[in-house]
Amino acid sequence: MFRSMVLAALGIALAAGLVLSAVQALQVSPIIYAAEAFEMEQPEVAAAIHKDHGHTHTHNVQAWAPGDGFERLAFTVLSNVLSAFGFAIILLAAMLTAKDKAKLNVSWARGILWGLAGYLMFFVLPALGLTPEIPGMEAAALEGRQSWWVLAVVSTGLAIASLVFLPGIAKAFAIVFIAAPWLVGAPQPQVHGFLHPDAQALAALTDLQAQFIYATAIANAVFWVILGGLTGYTAKRLAQD
């Protein structure tokens, strides 16, 4: 079963990852590039800002990065497909376990519901605490944000699972799980927004940031619906074998 799951998840990942790459290339990446152009404009300012704000990591300027254009796109597509593989195989394991233990039916239509749960769990709830960021935006220390992200994902997942699988009044556990990350609180930076010295650039970056939230919300929704539908269909076929 493990082998079939890996192979199936690779197929799903290829499809969902490529669709995501297309949506991303159309409406997400252009915003990232536009924001980067402001960063590049004043490298010494950007460097000073990074130093002043006690970021816990420093960007090594010597480190390899894919060249702009085809190389960068290729690595982004590869990263998208790999991420989709990770999400797909977790979703597949969850669906097959739910079918096995809770006698939950699997199908492509049910899969879309699972996909929407994934969207809530991995994108919507974490993004409500930690806004999707464009390059150059001030943010709290990375480690704290990563820990909070994991907390938000896990507790949202447990909340959804409680609602679906626990009987009667026990469903109320969902409230505890959904509240947990907000009681802890998402780490916030001391200064919000951007530290670009130019007022016009600042306005443009703020505008790009607003667009970026919508762009990622749409791209991730499309991605999760496709991933969920395909995984549901695949889980049904794997369960029949």
């Binding site: 480190a63 990263s79 960021e133 791209a219």
Partner: protein
């Protein structure tokens, strides 16, 4: 047909072993998925960050 009769003889033992085996496989599959996601989305090395940069931003993984 003969094989299915053979299996049904030791029915409960076989199915409970198959179930335990399947739980282990499900857990292994989920862990593999998490490891891949951690690598793409969270690995702190500059090279990993740069290669997966646009993906990290698109998924709103904490970045920079």
């Amino acid at each position: 047909m003969t094989t299915s009769t053979v299996i049904s003889k030791g029915d409960s033992a076989v199915s409970s072993r198959a179930l335990a085996n399947s739980s282990v496989q499900m857990a292994a599959a989920a862990i593999l998925g998490m490891v891949v996601l951690m690598g793409v989305g969270f690995a702190p090395m500059d090279v990993a960050h740069n290669a997966a940069h646009d993906t990290r931003h698109s998924f709103a993984f904490p970045c920079h």
